[in-house]
C-alpha cells in the first residue's frame, strides 16, 4: 500500500504564495505587456515601439543608459576590486571605519548623492564659486554623462568591494603561497591568480551594478540635464508634465525589461563558464606593505571612500547652515530642521516607518516561507515560485510601479494612491534579494535537525517554527536590517505610486530638491542618513562575521 501524499499546510502556503504572485506580479506584467501593444484606436498595434525606435530623442536614451551602465560597471569593478585587494591582503589602518563608511555610501539614496554633487560642483555650487573666486578658473561642468557616472559609481563601487572581499576571504592562503613559491611576482600574482579566482564573484557583482545603474533614475533626472537616460524617459512619459501617455510608457517599460533580461542572460551564460567552489581553511594573511606602497594604498583607500562619502558630509553640513528664503547665509542654525520636522512629522516620517515596517515584516516572512519551499519542498509548483520570485530582480523599479498602477488603477481591486500599493511594490522589489539570502542560510541547516524535532513529536509546521526559524534568526535579522535600509531609501517605484497621503522621506527630499528648498531638503536628507547609519550600526552588532550580502 502506498503512503498517501499528505496534503499539508505547506501545500496551502505554496498555493497562497503562487496566488499572490499571480495577482501582484504576473497580472500587472501581463497588463503592462498588453497595454504596450494597444494603439490609439484601441486595437493591436506596434506603433509605440515604432515611435520609440524611429525617433532619435527616444532611442538614443537607450544607448545613453547603456553607456552609463557599462561605464559605471567598469569603473566600479576597477575601483572596488582594487580597494578590496588592498583591504584584504594588506594591513590598512582604520579597517572598520573604512568599511562602515563604504557601506554608508552604498546605502545612501541616489537622490541625495546627485543633489549634493550639484550643490558642491554645479553651476552655482559652493566649490564651483569658491574655486572661481580664488583662481579665476571655471570648473568643468558636472552635469551630463560624467556627473551621472560619478554619482552612481560613488554609490555602487562599495558593492563590488563587498562582493570581492567575500571572494578574497574564501581564497586559501596556500594558493597565494604556492604562486609565490613558483616564482610569481606580486603584480603577476594579482593578475594570474587572485583576479581569476575572484572572476565569478566579479561577474555577479557586475550584474548587480549594471542593473542598479541601468534602473537608477533619480541621478540622471537631477544631474543629467540634456543627457537623457532610459528610466527618465519612462518616468517622463508616465508622470511628466507634457505628453503623458500610459500606453507609450508601457511600451518603453517592456523594452526596458527586454534589455535587462538580455543582460541577465548574457551574465548567466558568462558566469556558467567559470564556476568553481572555494573554501578557505587558512584565510589569506594580511601583510604589512612597504612604506611607500603602504602610503599609496592608504591614500587610495581613504581618497576613494572620502570622495564617495563627501556628498553626505556636505549635505549634513549644509543642513545646519543658516538660510533665508532658500539663500544660504553666514553662520549656523537649526532652522532647516525646525522647518523640515514641521513638514515631515505629519506624513513623511510616520509613512516611512509604517510603510517600511509593514513591507519589512512581510518581506521577511514571505522570504522565509519561500526559501523553505524552495530548499525543502522541491517540486514543480515551488519551482515556479522560485522562478517567479527572481523576475523582479531584472525589472527596473519605475517599471514595477507603472505595472502596478496599470493593474490596480481600476477594476475589482483599486489600490493606487494607498499605502498598500507602496508596500506591495517594496515587497516585490526586495523579495528576490531576501529570498536568496534566506535560501543560503537554510541550505546551511541540515534537514536532520527538523527530522529530529518531528521524531520527537513536533508537527512539520511546529518543527519549522520551533527549530528551523530560531536557527535562521541571526542571518534573517542581519538580512532584515539591510532590507530595511533599502526600503526606506527607495525612490524609483515610490515616485510613480505615491499620493499626498503616502509621501515618504525620500519623496519629501526629492520634492524639496525640485522646489529648491535646499535647507529643508538637506535637513530631511540628513535625518534619513542618520536613520540609515543607526540601522547599519545595529546590523554590525547583529551580524557576527560582518559579512554582508545585499
Amino acid at each position: 500500500m502506498k503512503t498517501r501524499r499528505r496534503f499539508d499546510t505547506w501545500h496551502l502556503i505554496s498555493f497562497a504564495i503562487l496566488g499572490l504572485y499571480a495577482i501582484f506580479l504576473v497580472l500587472p506584467l501581463f497588463l503592462l505587456l498588453r497595454n504596450s501593444v494597444i494603439g490609439a484606436d484601441g486595437f493591436f498595434s506596434l506603433e509605440y515601439f515604432r515611435e520609440f525606435f524611429t525617433k532619435p530623442y527616444y532611442y538614443t536614451t537607450l544607448f545613453n543608459s547603456f553607456f552609463v551602465s557599462v561605464s559605471v560597471t567598469v569603473v566600479s569593478l576597477v575601483l572596488g576590486t582594487l580597494f578590496a585587494y588592498f583591504y584584504n591582503l594588506f594591513e590598512i589602518k582604520g579597517r572598520t571605519f573604512l568599511q562602515t563608511v563604504a557601506l554608508l555610501c552604498s546605502m545612501s539614496p541616489p537622490v541625495i548623492g546627485a543633489y549634493s554633487w550639484i550643490q558642491m560642483f554645479g553651476r552655482s555650487g559652493l566649490f564651483t564659486k569658491l574655486i572661481k573666486s580664488l583662481t579665476g578658473f571655471r570648473m568643468p561642468d558636472i552635469y551630463g554623462f560624467g556627473g551621472i557616472v560619478l554619482v552612481i559609481t560613488c554609490q555602487l563601487f562599495p558593492l563590488v568591494f563587498l562582493y570581492v572581499s567575500g571572494a578574497l576571504r574564501n581564497i586559501d592562503n596556500s594558493l597565494l603561497e604556492a604562486a609565490s613559491g613558483l616564482g610569481t611576482s606580486r603584480l603577476k600574482r594579482f593578475f594570474k591568480v587572485v583576479l581569476p579566482l575572484c572572476a565569478p564573484t566579479m561577474l555577479a557583482a557586475a550584474l548587480l551594478v549594471f542593473m542598479r545603474a541601468f534602473a537608477d533614475f533619480a541621478t540622471p533626472l537631477l544631474i543629467g540635464k540634456g543627457y537623457q537616460t532610459f528610466p527618465v524617459v519612462i518616468y517622463n512619459s508616465y508622470v511628466g508634465e507634457t505628453n503623458t501617455n500610459h500606453y507609450f510608457a508601457a511600451a518603453i517599460s517592456v523594452i526596458g525589461i527586454v534589455v535587462t533580461a538580455l543582460i541577465f542572460l548574457v551574465q548567466k551564460a558568462a558566469s556558467s563558464r567559470f564556476t568553481f567552489t572555494m573554501n578557505a581553511l587558512h584565510p589569506i594573511e594580511r601583510h604589512k606593505p612597504g612604506p611607500l606602497a603602504g602610503a599609496l594604498m592608504h591614500i587610495y583607500c581613504y581618497l576613494l571612500v572620502g570622495i564617495a562619502f563627501l556628498p553626505q558630509v556636505f549635505i549634513a553640513w549644509q543642513s545646519f547652515r543658516r538660510s533665508n528664503n532658500n539663500v544660504f547665509l553666514e553662520g549656523y542654525s537649526l532652522d532647516s530642521y525646525r522647518e523640515a520636522f514641521s513638514r515631515i512629522l505629519g506624513k513623511a516620517l510616520p509613512n516611512t516607518l509604517s510603510i517600511g515596517l509593514s513591507a519589512l515584516v512581510l518581506v521577511v516572512l514571505m522570504a522565509i516561507l519561500i526559501a523553505y519551499l524552495v530548499v525543502r519542498r522541491g517540486n514543480a509548483l515551488n519551482g515556479v515560485i522560485d522562478t517567479l520570485s527572481m523576475v523582479p530582480y531584472i525589472i527596473p523599479g519605475a517599471v514595477v510601479g507603472i505595472a502596478l498602477v496599470i493593474a490596480f488603477n481600476q477594476g475589482p481591486l483599486v489600490l493606487t494612491g494607498t499605502a498598500a500599493v507602496m508596500v506591495i511594490a517594496l515587497i516585490i522589489r526586495r523579495l528576490p534579494y531576501t529570498i536568496r539570502s534566506s535560501v543560503a542560510i537554510l541550505q546551511q541547516i541540515p534537514m536532520s535537525i527538523e527530522e529530529a524535532a518531528i521524531s520527537l513529536g513536533c508537527s512539520q509546521m511546529k518543527a519549522f517554527f520551533v527549530v528551523t526559524v530560531p536557527m535562521m534568526a541571526n542571518g534573517i535579522m542581519s538580512g532584515a536590517i539591510i532590507s530595511w535600509i533599502t526600503i526606506i531609501t527607495e525612490l524609483s517605484t515610490a515616485i510613480v505610486l505615491y499620493s499626498v497621503n503616502t509621501l515618504t522621506l525620500t519623496l519629501a527630499i526629492y520634492n524639496n530638491v525640485v522646489q529648491g528648498n535646499d535647507g529643508v531638503a538637506s535637513a530631511i536628507a540628513t535625518i534619513l542618513l542618520a536613520l540609515t547609519t543607526v540601522s547599519l550600526l545595529l546590523f554590525m552588532r547583529f551580524s557576527k562575521n560582518k559579512d554582508l550580502s545585499l
Partner: protein, 370 residues
C-alpha cells in the same frame, strides 16, 4: 512499550529509479537489529521509511499489528539518532533532552519532565553539561545528548542512522559499548544502520546484510561471518580470499580442488545436493589458511606486514591468484620475500559457493531472510 516490526513487500523508488524493489523483514521485539551494507544499498532509505521521513511506494510497515504507513512521523512514537547528531544548537543540553517531552499528548508536569530528563542525562553521563549550549560539547558528548533525547520519550522503537561515523576511532569503540549497554538495560527494539561490519558485529543481536536494495542474509553476527549465505556476504563481512575451485567426486566423496589438484575432502560440510562435479568459488579467510612445509597449495611470499598481534603475508599462488594470510606473530620467525611455502586450509571453516556466487553450498547456513 517495545514492539516488533514487520516489513511486508516494501518498495521505494524515486520516479524511475528503484532503490528497493521488494523487501520483507521481521524485526523482533526488544532486539538490536542492524542494517548493514555498502553505501547506496538502501539501508538508510529503509530506516527512513520506518521513521516516516521517506514515502512508501509499495508494501506495508507494521509496528506489532498496527500498519504505520499512513501515520505521520511525529505520531509513530519513535526515537531517532542521526549521523550528524542533529542537536538543536539554540537550546541547552537539558532543553534538548526535554524537547520531546514537551510535545507529548499527555503533558507531564514540569517537575516530572525535569526529573525524567535528569535520569537519562545521568544514564548518558552528561548531567554536568545540562545547562551548556551544545556547541561547547565534543562530538561524543553531542551524540550522548542525542541518545538521551531520543530515549527520554520512551519510544516504541529506537532508530539509529550511522550514529558513530562522525566520531574518531577510539570514541567509536567506546560509544558503541555504551549504546549496546543502554539498549540492553532499556530493552527497546532498536534498528541500527551502519556500513561498518565490525561495528555491526559488536553491537547487534541480528544483522541484515543488504546490497542493491535487497536483503542478502539475516542472522546473528556469528552466523553471517562463519556461514555467509552468498559470496557478497562472505566478502563484505570481514576479509576473505576468493579463489576459483572445482568439486569432483571420487568414490562418491566430494573433493575440492583449489589451485590445482589439492583434493580437499569437503564432504563433512558440503550440502549433499551439491556433491556433484561443478565449478565453484571458494572463500578462505586469511586466518583460515596456515603456512606449512607439508602438503598444501604451493605459493610464493610477496611481502609481509607486521600488525603487532599478527603477521600478515601477501602471497601469489602458482595459478597467479593473490592471497592474504594471517598468522600469529612469532618472535624472530617470519618468512622472507620470495620464500616458497605451501598453504594448508582449515577445512571446517572455509565456505564454498556456486560458481556465480549466488548461494552457499554449505550445510549450517542460517538465513532468517523472508
Amino acid at each position: 512499550m517495545s514492539v516488533n516490526i514487520t516489513i511486508d513487500h516494501a518498495r521505494k523508488c524515486y520516479d524511475d529509479n528503484v532503490i528497493i524493489s521488494d523487501l520483507s523483514l521481521k524485526i523482533r521485539e526488544g532486539e538490536f537489529f542492524t542494517l548493514l551494507g555498502p553505501s547506496g544499498c538502501g539501508k538508510t532509505t529503509l530506516l527512513r521509511m520506518i521513521a516516516g521521513f521517506n514515502s512508501i511506494e509499495g508494501g506495508d510497515f507494521y509496528f506489532n499489528d498496527t500498519c504505520i504507513n499512513d501515520i505521520a512521523p511525529n505520531r509513530r512514537h519513535i526515537g531517532m539518532v542521526f549521523q550528524n547528531y542533529a542537536i538543536f544548537p539554540h537550546l541547552s543540553v537539558k532543553n534538548n533532552v526535554m524537547f520531546g517531552l514537551k510535545n507529548q499528548d499527555t503533558r507531564l508536569k514540569k517537575a516530572e519532565m525535569i526529573q525524567k530528563a535528569e535520569r537519562f542525562m545521568r544514564l548518558m553521563h552528561i548531567e554536568e553539561y545540562a545547562d551548556r549550549k551544545p556547541e561547547a560539547l565534543s562530538g561524543g558528548q553531542q551524540q550522548r545528548v542525542a541518545l538521551a533525547r531520543a530515549l527520554v520519550i520512551e519510544p516504541d522503537v529506537l532508530l539509529m542512522d550511522e550514529p558513530l561515523s562522525n566520531l574518531d576511532a577510539k570514541l567509536r569503540v567506546e560509544m558503541r559499548e555504551t549504546i549496546r549497554e543502554i539498549q540492553r538495560s532499556v530493552g527497546i527494539t532498536t534498528v541500527y544502520v551502519t556500513h561498518d561490519q565490525e561495528e555491526a558485529m559488536a553491537v547487534s543481536d541480528r544483522i541484515a546484510v543488504m546490497n542493491l536494495g535487497q536483503i542478502q542474509q539475516v542472522g546473528t553476527p556469528q552466523a553471517i561471518y562463519q556461514r555467509p549465505a552468498n559470496l557478497f556476504v562472505a566478502s563484505f563481512i570481514g576479509r576473505t580470499n576468493i579463489l576459483k575451485g572445482r568439486i569432483r567426486l571420487r568414490g562418491g566423496e566430494p573433493l575440492l580442488d583449489i589451485s590445482g589438484e589439492t583434493a580437499l575432502p569437503v564432504g563433512a560440510t558440503l550440502r549433499p545436493d551439491a556433491a556433484r562435479e561443478q565449478s565453484v568459488v571458494v572463500s578462505v579467510r586469511p586466518e583460515e589458511f596456515y603456512i606449512t612445509q607439508g602438503v598444501g597449495i604451493p605459493a610464493t611470499v610477496n611481502s609481509r606486514t607486521f600488525l603487532g598481534l599478527n603477521m600478515q603475508y601477501f602471497l601469489t599462488l602458482d595459478t597467479g591468484e593473490q592471497v592474504q594470510v594471517i598468522q600469529e606473530a612469532e618472535l624472530d620467525a617470519f618468512l622472507e620475500e620470495g620464500a616458497r611455502v605451501n598453504l594448508g586450509v582449515k577445512l571446517g571453516k572455509i565456505n564454498v559457493f556456486s560458481e556465480d556466487g549466488a548461494q552457499s553450498l554449505m550445510t549450517g547456513v542460517v538465513n532468517d531472510a523472508l
